[in-house]
Structures are given as structure tokens and as C-alpha cells.
Symmetry: C2
Subunit: 391 residues, 2 copies
């Protein structure tokens, strides 16, 4: 897609906060040595700044709890990492950079009770799209084992978002994720993938073409340094980034233990919109979504327009409440409406009885019945008047 189609140009940035080279290198070192989701280190960085946090972490000696981290930190050559990444077209963003997504800073307020989470030291990004474009984005996530229903809904929602110029963020995984990216691209929309491995790696292998395309035309994002392998905790950590980078998360399909519900949980902790597409209770891949709703969490969405209404600026994308189809009965005069209410649905009644029930004069009732008959709402037989079935 052309740059002109992109919905939001980088907003006029505040005067860029000066990020010193020393701070950037400190954050590279932390990014390479600290496992994602290490809330303790993240809090330390928040308190002391990256350089002092790095010094503090490096100072742990043998036998101290931080010994392993200190050893890993000492092994990092930050300048070389940065240089190698740059040669692969990978940039490293840190807080203070104009492109740094401000939503990530809120992650320090959503660290779990067991210390998981926190703002990452930096983000590794491959691709020409500035992350400022994700300011109004929506996450669309779900099961790897997607059903036909889930695939259909993902396509419909993402196409709708794309046409409205709302970028779609997902995890580049099989199933709902790859459909979300693909449907957005098909509708000339903007989409970015957030990975649990380095942005130079391809996981899962089946999505090679998609991930290469995103890295060359849009953006692939990770808090993991290039070369990192995906592990389970890294997937969980990645989910918090998807939630934090977007205005809301749509869970299209999720089994009971799906990672998509983990993303939804992060979105909830971050006060983002959590939007759930309900599904048949008989479907394995909707059980997690339905159960999430059953717990009173998340809002039901049944259409892309409802997603837009929730995440848009106030009043930007209002949706008419669904009304069902219009029925002939909707266009009656008040007298006709009064009369039709009292025409029996089964065994016919005489005009007199209908007039008595509706409290109208006999002639008024008779006139209304004739007009209702020409509108094919009532029928007259030898036994009297009755409703036309299913009118």
C-alpha cells in the first residue's frame, strides 16, 4: 500500500528527549541479557534509569542472587550488537525516541504478583513503517487451530479495520494471527507482527513469506535481540507487548488455554478494550472466548463496526444498534397498529369482537381492517378476520 493510504502520520512529536549513546547501549545490554518479562529489572530501570540499573546489575558477585544475570551482562558487546542489527536493517528503539510507543510505558504499572511483565528495555524493529502508525491500532488474535468460523470472522473484522484505516497488530503465528495479517494486507491495510523470537528469525516456518513481507513493507517487532529463539515464557512476554501497543484486543477464537486469552488478560490489566467474538458453545475453539465472557470480562463484538465504535475517538465510529429487518407492521398508522394487535393469529374473529378489544368504533375498525388486508397483514374468510401467518 502507498504511504498516502496510511491512516495516521507520525503525530507532531514532542521535542525528542535526548537519548544518550550510553543509555542506548545500556538498554541494548539489558535487552540481550535480561529475559523478557523480568519485572524486577524493569522496575530497577524505571527507578534508576538504564545506565545505573545496568551498573547495579553488573555488580552482583558470586553467590549473590543476580550472579547469573551479571555474568550474562558481562558477555554482551552492546555496540557490536547494535552495529550487527543495523547492518541487517534492524533498528533498536528506546524510550525517548520519537518512534517509541508510549503505551509500552504503562507496562511498568501492570507487573504481575509474581514479578512478570514490565516495560521492555527497548524494541528491535525490522521494516520501514514507523511504530507511531500503531497509535490507533487494534490487536486481532486467536487460536492457532482456527476453525472456518474463526477464519471467516477474522477476515471480516480485519477487512473492516483496514478500510477504516486502523492498523492491525498480531503475533505472526499460525491460525487466526496469519489470517489477521493476510486479510488486512488484502484490504490494503496496515499491519505489524510482534514476535517471541528475534525479528530476523522466521517462526513458524510456514509463515516465512508473510513475515518477510511484513519486514520489508511494514514492521516486525520484538523485545528479543536478533537471533533469539522463541520459548514459552517469551510468548507470554510477547503477548503483553501486543496488548500494550494497541488500543484494544479482539479475541476471535480461543480454546480454554489459548495464549490469546493471555493477551486479552494483559489488555484488561492495561485498561485497553477487550473485545470477544462469541461462538458456538459446541466449538472447541470458541470455548475460551465464551468462558471469558461468562466471567463477565470483555465486550461482545459481532462486527468490525462494533470494534471501531469501541476503539475510536468518542463519536468517531458510531454504530446503529442492530434492528432486525423492517416488517410491514412497522409502517402502520396508529389506528391500523391498534387494530392489528387484536386480530387473532389463529381462529378468525368478527369485526365486532376486534372493535371491542381495540376500543375503537366499529366503522373505524372495519376501515382499518380493509387497509390491513390490502397490506397483506390480515385475511378475511367466511368465519371472520385473522392475521396472515408470519406477516
Amino acid at each position: 500500500m502507498s504511504a498516502a493510504n496510511r491512516p495516521c502520520e507520525p503525530s507532531p512529536a514532542e521535542p525528542p528527549r535526548l537519548v544518550t549513546e550510553a543509555e542506548r547501549l545500556a538498554r541494548v545490554a539489558l535487552s540481550c541479557a535480561v529475559e523478557p518479562g523480568d519485572g524486577t529489572t524493569s522496575s530497577l530501570v524505571g527507578q534508576l534509569g538504564a545506565e545505573r540499573a545496568l551498573q547495579r546489575s553488573l555488580s552482583a558477585t558470586e553467590g549473590e542472587p543476580g550472579e547469573m544475570l551479571a555474568a550474562r551482562l558481562r558477555a554482551v558487546d552492546a555496540a557490536r550488537q547494535l552495529d550487527q542489527a543495523a547492518r541487517c536493517g534492524i533498528r533498536f528503539l528506546v524510550p525517548g525516541d520519537p518512534e517509541w510507543p508510549p503505551g509500552l510505558d504503562q507496562l511498568d504499572d501492570a507487573i504481575t504478583d509474581d514479578g512478570f511483565g514490565g516495560t521492555p528495555p527497548g524494541l528491535w524493529v525490522k521494516g520501514p513503517m514507523p511504530l507511531t502508525e500503531l497509535a490507533t491500532s487494534v490487536a486481532v488474535v486467536g487460536s492457532r487451530a482456527a476453525s472456518v468460523y474463526g477464519v471467516e470472522m477474522t477476515r471480516a473484522v480485519c477487512a473492516h479495520l483496514a478500510l477504516a484505516g486502523v492498523p492491525v497488530v498480531s503475533g505472526g503465528a499460525l491460525g487466526i494471527d496469519v489470517e489477521a495479517h493476510g486479510a488486512t494486507l488484502s484490504a490494503d491495510g496496515v499491519t505489524a507482527a510482534v514476535l517471541a523470537c528475534g525479528v530476523d528469525r522466521v517462526y513458524p516456518a510456514q509463515n516465512r513469506r508473510l513475515l518477510h513481507h511484513l519486514a520489508s513493507e511494514f514492521a516486525v517487532v520484538s523485545e528479543q535481540p536478533p537471533g533469539s529463539a522463541p520459548t514459552r515464557p517469551r510468548f507470554l512476554a510477547r503477548n503483553r507487548l501486543i496488548a500494550a501497543l494497541t488500543s484494544g484486543t479482539v479475541v476471535v477464537e480461543a480454546a480454554l488455554r489459548s495464549g490469546a486469552l493471555n493477551t486479552a488478560g494483559w489488555a484488561e490489566s492495561l485498561n485497553r478494550h477487550v473485545m470477544c467474538v462469541p461462538g458456538p458453545v459446541t466449538s472447541y475453539t470458541s470455548r475460551g472466548v465464551n468462558n471469558f465472557l461468562r466471567e463477565g470480562r470483555g465486550t461482545v463484538v459481532t462486527h468490525g463496526a462494533e470494534v471501531l465504535e469501541l476503539v475510536g475517538a468518542a463519536g468517531e465510529h458510531l454504530v446503529d444498534p442492530p434492528r432486525g429487518e423492517t416488517r410491514p407492521r412497522d409502517d402502520l398508522t396508529s389506528v391500523e397498529a391498534k387494530v392489528v394487535e387484536w386480530v387473532p393469529v389463529s381462529e378468525p374473529a368478527q369485526v365486532e369482537s376486534i372493535a371491542r378489544l381495540s376500543g375503537l368504533h366499529l366503522r373505524t375498525t372495519e376501515g382499518a381492517l380493509r387497509r390491513l388486508r390490502s397490506k397483506k397483514l390480515v385475511q378475511l374468510s367466511d368465519e371472520g378476520w385473522r392475521l396472515v401467518p408470519d406477516a
Copy 2:
């Protein structure tokens, strides 16, 4: 089914309130002349008692607003109505009768802004089952145009309720209603139909056998006197009785303008449980249910057990939260669990790297990896250790 299977015997009644013959006859007159859902008359009865309300209503003279009602009341021969009904095996219940369902009295507190609703003057009942058996009942309602999904869910929920001894109330209509009655009967459960016409009439004609069976073995209920035809306002009035007679209403399927949502609305006004079975957003007959949930109304239910949990006495029918299947990973020692977290999902890693990431000694890590391998969670190749796909 035998009486022994019935879940709740008539509870030891309070000493029966004495209902005078005059009051009963006054209520028969009101039941025959006042249209169901006339909140004004209902309030008058609540204030003055039935006899004085009847006198007041009879006194309206020509030109006064209540003139038509007065004329209709004068035309009723209450004693004869009662006698004729009794000869057809139909009884007339009024407040104060031991069999009168106390839930109906709450209808006077749920009259709509335009004066619709209120406690009916009495109930016409055909069938041997005392309505006291409905004290713990659940309403199961939905679209006349039911889908296969709706029919399946209705059967599953009603069979579950029947086995737990919870009576099922529905409207005797086509679609979900007839399935609800039928599935309950098939599971030897207790079920009653609340009609919009007289209990001696058969509407819809297709359900003749079912309605006759309910009238001879269970109960068919209406606030309309025998012989009355079904009209639209009478269906709406009937819905409030279904909601008031039960502990909660399950909406299995409903299009956007389905009458089942009207019943759910009454249940909501009466502080009964409103339980919704979500469905595919692509299904016409689930749109109303999904939209109801989207408005933040009702609780998602996906199984009969969840219905029981909501309507049961506190702690009576507790449901384990759904957990998803157990995975081999759930049964690991804490060391194994720590190690497996750091085994890459795709490209293999060496023991050293896994030990470093997990913060464990090399030999501990190696031992855990071997045990994980015998549990088929990880695999070892020439390049190192990786997870078994989808383990």
C-alpha cells in the same frame, strides 16, 4: 413420570389465606374482561382488593374512560365461567390459594412506563401438577425458527435440568419452546407450558399432541379465560408470566426481534437470572442473543450445569470452572518445569544455553532434559534439544 421423581413436593404451605367466594368471583370477572397486562387495573386490585376494584371498574358510566371495560365486566357471568371451566378440568387460582405462585406478586413492581404488566387477577390451569412444583423451575425459551444448533443446545440444557429435577417452563410455541418441553419429557423431567390463549385451546396446531399431553400429565397455564384467542399483546403479556414463574430464563436462540428477548427483559426487571447461550455471530437466530450480551445484559451459559449453578440454592450445584484438557506439562517436577520453559520450540539449543537461561546447574539441567525426553516433551538431535512439536 412418577410423582416420586418430582423434585419438590408442595412446600409445607403457610396456613392458607382465606379466599372468599366473592373475591374469587371478582377475580374471574376481571380475568374475563380485562386484557392481560393492564397494569392500571392490576394496580387498582393491589390497592383496593379485587372486590372493591371490580366495583370501582363497574361504576364507570357512558363517556368515562373505563366505559368499555365496565360494559365488558357487566357481560361476564363469573360463576358460570368458573363452573364451565371446572367441568373441562380447568381450575382458577388466585392469590391466597396454596397453589398460587408467589413470584407472580412481584409483577406489580415491574409495570412498564406505559402501564403494561402487573399481577394477573388469577391463573387458569389445566393439568394435575400443582404449580408449587414450579418453585425452583427454569424457563427455556427461544426463536420459533430454531436452527440445528439451537435445537441441540435446547435438548442438552433441558435434559440436564430434567436429570437434576429442575422443572422447565416454556411457551408451547414452535421451535425452541417445543424442543424444550419435548427434551424435558424425554429425560423424565417436569415441564409446564404458559399460553397466550385459553388453556383449552391448541395453538399452534402443530403442537396439539404436546399440549394435550402437558394438560393431562403436567400443567398448562394461562391468565386468559378458556376459549380466548391468542393475540400479539397476549403473547407479550404471557412472556411476563414465564419470567415471573421461574427462577431464571435461558435464552437459547433469538433473532433480533424475538419474543424470547422480551421474556428475558421481564426476567431482568424481576431480578431473575437471565442466561444466554451465545452463538455464531453469523447465525440469524443468534443475533438477538449475542446483541443482548453485547449490551452487557444476561450471563453467558454454555452448559446445563452452569444454569443449575446460577439458579440453584447457594452452593447447591457448583461447577468447576472449565479447565481445558490436562497436558503432560501439567505433571512436571518444579525443576523439569523450569527447564522445559527454556527449551526452544524450533531451532535446537545446547544444554549449556538451556542451563544458563533456566539458572540451573548443567548436570541438573541435563538430568531434567533426559526425564522430559522420556515424557516425550523434548527431543534431542545432533544440533541439540528442542520441544516436541505440539507437546
